[in-house]
């Protein structure tokens, strides 16, 4: 009981590693394989970004924020539409200046939203059963989805970061035909990495960050030394809102801003299960594992499955993440990096 049970985790890791290596063994071209791998890593970075928002809120307030996906959609909608409207409203040039201003405004909106959610939803429900809180965030999800589309519109919008979407060839000397990589994906990865570093600095170096960590460790102890819980929660939700904005921007630029973003963001749930609810590195590594895993499964496992059972198409990536998380839950409920806790009677 006291010793950590690592056996099942190692077994699962071995299966995943074998799955990762299998395509190479069965003779897929290395260049194509690497392309798929990189594509998976990119998707994983985006999952990590959303998962990061989850972990922040869960750490500080014990709320499992189902609405993180809706916040991503809301932020992306705000950004896309403001960038479109601002030139007409105040006459600043379209393109990068408008986008920058729109980003600042959208960040402001997300902070305001965080404040409202804390005031109206969380404060009255404080110390409720976690499932009730989860359902409350489900309510927030629906409200935000409806509200966002009411004020921002419900078509598909573009966020143009001014980066060419054309793929570039890299490593041409090493492989025949090289590897196709989209510049946009690279930039996305850089932005995500930058955000993670920024958050790490914020948590380690600032007084607010230290207070946040104190609250995450022990609510009551933090309160007793005079850390105002309510303000901390607003800050955490605001930071999560900002993370959602960055995720929305990157994701929106890649796929277009549309309703399905919120659905995609649901994939962050299995990510946090895998990584552990309270771990920031867990969110990042979990995101990468799931991003790579589902791409690999779709590309290399899908076609043989379709052939074998005569399926009407692939689409394994729709459930791969959830089933993987479920299997993982059975062997290690606290996740890769999460903390185990003991019930007291």
């Amino acid at each position: 009981m006291a010793a950590k049970k690592n056996g099942p985790v190692i077994a699962l890791g071995a299966v995943l590693a074998a799955g990762l290596a299998a395509p190479l063994v069965t003779g897929s071209p290395l260049g194509f394989y690497l392309e798929v791998l990189i594509g998976g890593l990119m998707a994983g970075v985006l999952y990590s970004l959303v998962a990061l928002g989850f972990v922040l809120i869960f750490k500080a307030s014990g709320v499992f924020n189902f609405a993180q996906g809706a916040m991503v959609l809301f932020a992306a909608l705000a950004l896309a539409r403001l960038a479109e409207w601002l030139p007409a409203w105040i006459g600043i040039p379209a393109g990068f200046p408008a986008l920058t201003l729109a980003f600042v405004l959208a960040a402001g909106i997300m902070v305001g939203l965080a404040w409202v959610i804390e005031r109206i939803v969380l404060r009255p429900l404080v110390a409720q059963d976690p499932v009730a809180l989860l359902m409350a965030t489900l309510g927030v999800t629906f409200f935000l989805d409806g509200f966002g589309q009411t004020i921002w519109g419900s078509d598909i919008y573009k966020i143009d970061l001014g980066i060419s979407k054309d793929p570039t060839m890299i490593l041409e000397s090493m492989f025949q035909g090289g590897i196709l990589v989209s510049k946009e994906d690279l930039i996305a990865a850089v932005i995500a990495a930058g955000l993670v570093i920024l958050l790490a600095l914020f948590f380690q170096k600032t007084a607010t960050g230290r207070a946040l960590r104190a609250v995450a460790d022990d609510h009551q102890a933090a309160q007793s030394i005079g850390i105002p819980l309510n303000r901390i929660w607003v800050i955490v939700w605001a930071v999560a809102g900002f993370v959602a904005l960055v995720a929305g921007m990157v994701w929106g630029a890649k796929l277009g801003v549309q309703f399905s973003l919120a659905q995609l963001a649901l994939k962050a749930l299995p990510v946090v299960i895998l990584g552990g609810f309270t771990s920031i590195p867990g969110a990042i590594i979990g995101g990468l594992i799931i991003g790579v895993g589902e791409k690999m499964a779709e590309v290399f496992l899908g076609p043989p499955l379709v052939k074998m059972w005569d399926l009407a198409g692939g689409g394994i990536e729709n459930w791969f993440a959830y089933v993987l998380a479920l299997l993982f839950l059975m062997v290690r409920p606290e996740g890769l990096f999460g903390e185990k806790h003991i019930d007291r009677v």
Partner: protein, 358 residues
């Protein structure tokens, strides 16, 4: 004044354990059932049957199922529509492959198959609780969606991936018109609702509620968590399965896998939050609410918009619907976590004393 129980004395435990202990309640419910069977079929329009009454009754049944699991046993499910899908496709395959089977038997079998799958996806509940379980049930939702969309055998190799059914025949009688279908659904729903009520007032229901309220104490007095949780998953999925089969055969007639998506699951959850967790009556109220709200909005908004000179399209109505659902869920969780059913009970308490304040 009219709602008093003076002079109604219970002289045996059996009387004390009746579902409707107060005479006025008994009259009210019997009256309502009589009205639904004897008056509604003659006065309601086809539109009422097709768009409101039949869907309301069927989703009530699904909501009862979900309420048994979430409201009574405290195990969350975010993927209950998947069990409806199991029921619908199971019934479809049974009818296609064994055309001579009686439809009522098909319903029960479809429910049992859903119950089996429910137990399978309920297994994680023995290890994990609350939020974690939510993700496990999401896995059920997406995996089952995928299976029905991709595995051709389940749709009997229909080229479009959608399936369609013939009208239901029972004992040589065809349930074809909306009225006939309504009466069939009504009968099934009343029987199953009564059975659910019986379950929750018996020892099995008590073991579910004990798990919900304090699982360690429940174990200590000898309730087996495995049996309590898995039986809740099984019964709940059974109800969802029967509801799914009815939804496919009686309401939709033909459907594709998207008919039982995650949004349906979330809507079911909203029904029990708004209607009342841990209340059979609440399941009905919540279902009525969720069925009626979009229809009402679609009716009321355009003229209201015209009044203030704005043009509310259907897209707008659907966004507003989302907002109202969201706001109501938050409202009920904060103000009355036990839902409208609790408000109804409070109202009755007041009425008992009326016209005196205390």
């Amino acid at each position: 004044m009219f709602y008093r129980e003076n002079g109604q004395f219970k002289s045996s435990y059996r009387e004390d354990q009746q579902i409707l202990g107060i005479r006025q309640d008994r009259w009210f419910i019997f009256g309502l059932i009589a009205f639904a069977f004897l008056v509604v079929p003659f006065v309601a329009s086809d539109y009422m049957f097709r768009a409101i009454l039949i869907p309301f009754l069927i989703v009530s049944l699904a909501a009862i199922g979900l309420n048994l699991l979430v409201g009574y046993c405290g195990q969350i499910s975010l993927g209950h529509a998947a069990f409806m899908a199991i029921g619908a496709y199971a019934a479809y395959n049974l009818v296609v492959r064994f055309p001579q089977l009686n439809f009522l038997l098909v319903l029960v079998l479809a429910g049992l198959i859903a119950a089996g799958v429910g137990i399978l996806f309920g297994l994680p509940s023995l290890q994990i609780k609350g939020l974690y379980l939510g993700v496990a049930t999401l896995a059920a939702q997406f995996f089952i969606d995928w299976v029905f969309a991709r595995v051709k055998w389940f749709t009997n190799y229909s080229p479009s991936g959608s399936v369609s059914t013939a009208p239901i025949e029972l004992f040589g009688y065809k349930f074809d018109s909306p009225v006939e279908r309504y009466v069939l659904v009504l009968a099934v729903v009343i029987v199953f609702a009564l059975m659910a009520k019986n379950l929750v007032r018996g020892h099995i229901g008590r073991s579910w509620m004990a798990m919900r309220d304090m699982d360690v104490a429940a174990e200590v007095i000898g309730i087996r968590p495995m049996y309590a949780k898995l039986s809740a998953f099984a019964v709940s999925a059974f109800y969802a399965g029967v509801a799914g089969a009815l939804w496919g055969f009686v309401h939709l007639g033909s459907w594709e896998p998207a008919a039982f998506s995650i949004n349906f699951s979330l809507n079911l959850l909203f029904m029990i939050i708004i209607g009342g967790m841990g209340s059979i009556l609440g399941s009905f109220i919540g279902a009525a609410f969720i069925v009626l709200l979009p229809i009402t909005l679609n009716q009321v908004l355009p003229p209201l918009g015209a009044l203030v000179g704005m043009n509310f399209g259907t897209a707008m109505a659907s966004h507003l619907e989302f907002m109202i659902f969201g706001a109501l869920i938050i409202f009920f969780l904060i103000v009355e976590p036990l839902g409208i059913a609790r408000l109804w009970a409070i109202g009755k308490e007041k009425l008992r004393l009326w016209p005196f304040p205390h």
